[in-house]
Amino acid sequence: MRQIIECRDIRKTYDNSGVKTPVLKGVTFSIAEGEFVAIMGPSGSGKSTLMHIIGALDTPTGGEYYLDGKDISKLSDDDLADIRREKIGFVFQAFNLLPRATVLRNVTLPLIYEGVAKEKREEIAKQALRESAFPEGFWQHHSNQLSGGMMQRVAIARALVNNPALILADEPTGNLDSKTGEIVLHTFQSLNEEGKKTIVLITHEAYVAEHADRIIHILDGNIVRDERNKNKRMAKTENL
């Protein structure tokens, strides 16, 4: 199985004018194509810091990081932007949609930076919206007219349009109630099972993490446990 993520002794120490804060203290793991992995740990354990490095938003201060076979731990900002555009789809806790733009426009946004023509963009975006089970009747709505669960599915569709090697979700259910959180988790599960997408989900909730196939436990900047999830929860679909 091809490895999408390979982290070798990843370290991250923040240096704020001489004050050094070690946050990641040598993290080693790999994630293969098609896996659905949850990274779990308490608040302040370094989950988001790790996600920023995995997501090419930041570079580690030590160690090597191979994304889709390429060492990207020492690239420049603009080169990292290229990597993100080509290989990664992000889903954030706060959705981060453009509020006064339509659903369709929000989903096409990453393709604008890729220079894809408008008709082609919309075609891809519609496909992604269908994959993330977003109802067609709302495609032309402005994103701020939607419920939280729908917003997060728009964000998921947006993460899909560039056909990324990896979907990274940081607390995607953190702003949702349990019902709508369930829908979003179901969307991830079906993207993984039917769409064969590689998904990394970051959460501090055991309940959410249990929807993944594998759980990496992180505590105080170290991996304390990395195990197969034996009793995987299936998100309930009757809410859909």
Partner: protein, 413 residues
């Protein structure tokens, strides 16, 4: 990122908050409109002044008697009142090379009477060269001829204002027919009106419309008295190019004729029409520049308004910028987006400003006697300046946006 997408993104962004966009643009609109309107007025005034100077005649040199200075004193007589120029000077000037025509003149201000009507006006003793030198046309009848001068014929040519004053009334406009052949009295001497000049529309002291022309010899003998001095000699040079040369020649000639060795003590002044045009142009040019500078200040204020709004926008949209960077936008993409936004605002403001300025200039010229000139160059300048202001004042906010760290930006509340 494709250019059309860049424009679409920008258009979407600036139409989100229409009121704010409108108010920000208003600063540029006012700035550009005032630049357009004020330079149009300035250039119009400049054109008017120049054409009125040109209407004095072409390639004109005016010689007037002036201060004759003596040792130890700088007592000088008022311009034109000294008695230093003679008809012999005039004849000598006529024989200089480069001189096309010479018009010696003697003037006085007298009461003129016709049949109970009377008017106080300038009477000018002239020779036949006067209309050519001073660019005057006869509307009806004829002008003063050489034979009038030789025979000291008591004939007069009157200007349209004099015609109306003497022959017209408050309810009727006088026609030249009513005057030609009639006898008018100037200082108790009878003159027969032989012609009426065309209106030149001038105003002020040297208004050719309010004048009576008589033969120079007649003016000297019957009106001014025994004096044989001239009040003015007008010289038409053969071309624009020789004017300075002719002016120098006349200066030397008159200095020599008047026995003056030091040019500082010259008892005459020569006014070069080109100098007047240049002086007037520099005055109106300064005036126009001043107007444009005032307008420029409002443009600057407008530009600062743009910068202010762009900085606010960048702060407000920090999360959006973070998101764009997270999904793959490079520094250049972000810079371009915000720069385009600023330029689109100023450019839009510029276009509206040009239209508003145009309307303002048209209103001004229809309400006043000032003709306004909206030159292509001022429109192009306005376009350039508004785009330039967008780039200048949009650059800093755009760079600030592009520099944002995506992680920080995404976390921003």
């Amino acid at each position: 990122m494709k250019t059309e997408d860049l424009f679409e993104e920008t258009l979407l962004a600036i139409t989100v908050n229409k009121v704010r966009t409108g108010l920000t643009m208003l600063g540029i609109v006012i700035g550009i409109a005032s630049v357009i309107a004020l330079t149009a007025i300035g250039q119009g005034a400049q054109g008017m002044i120049q054409s009125s100077i040109q209407s004095l005649g072409s390639n004109l040199l005016v010689i007037i008697p002036g201060a004759s200075k003596t040792f130890g004193s700088t007592v000088s007589a008022g311009l034109g009142s000294a008695e230093t120029l003679t008809p012999d000077d005039s004849n000598a000037i006529a024989s200089l090379s480069g001189v096309e025509a010479v018009s010696p003149e003697a003037s006085g201000r007298y009461q003129i009477i016709y049949n109970g009507s009377n008017t106080q006006t300038n009477v000018l003793g002239v020779v036949s060269a006067y209309p050519q030198v001073r660019d005057l046309q006869v509307a009806q009848g004829r002008f003063i001829t050489d034979s009038d001068n030789n025979s000291s014929a008591r004939v007069a040519v009157i200007g349209p204002t004099v015609l109306q004053d003497l022959f017209g009334s408050s309810i009727a406009t006088a026609t030249p027919d009513m005057a030609i052949g009639q006898t008018i009295r100037i200082k108790n001497v009878d003159f027969t009106v032989v012609g009426v000049t065309q209106s030149k529309g001038g105003s002020g002291f040297n208004n050719q419309d309010d004048m009576v022309f008589v033969p120079l010899t007649v003016a000297q003998h019957f009106l001014i008295g025994s004096s044989q001095y001239l009040s003015e000699i007008d010289v038409e040079a053969q071309s624009q190019q020789v004017m300075t040369q002719v002016q120098n020649e006349i200066t030397n000639l008159l200095l020599q004729r008047h026995g003056i060795s030091n040019p500082q003590n010259a008892d005459f002044n020569i006014i070069n029409q080109a100098d007047i045009v240049a002086a007037a142009s520099s005055v109106t040019g300064t005036f126009t520049t001043l107007l444009a500078a005032i307008a420029g200040i409002s443009l600057l204020v407008g530009g600062i308004g743009i910068m202010n709004m762009m900085l606010t926008t960048v702060t407000e949209r920090t999360r959006e910028i973070g998101l764009r960077k997270a999904i793959g936008a490079k520094k250049k993409d972000i810079t371009m987006q915000f720069l385009t936004e600023a330029v689109m605002l100023t450019f839009g403001g510029g276009i509206i400003g040009i239209v508003v300025g145009w309307i303002a200039a048209t209103v001004v010229s229809s309400l006043t006697s000032i003709t306004t000139i909206i030159s292509l160059s001022s429109i192009l300048l306005a376009f350039g300046v508004s785009a330039g202001i967008g780039i200048l004042f949009g650059y800093y906010p755009a760079v600030r946006a592009a520099k944002l760290n995506p992680i920080e930006a995404l976390r921003y509340e």
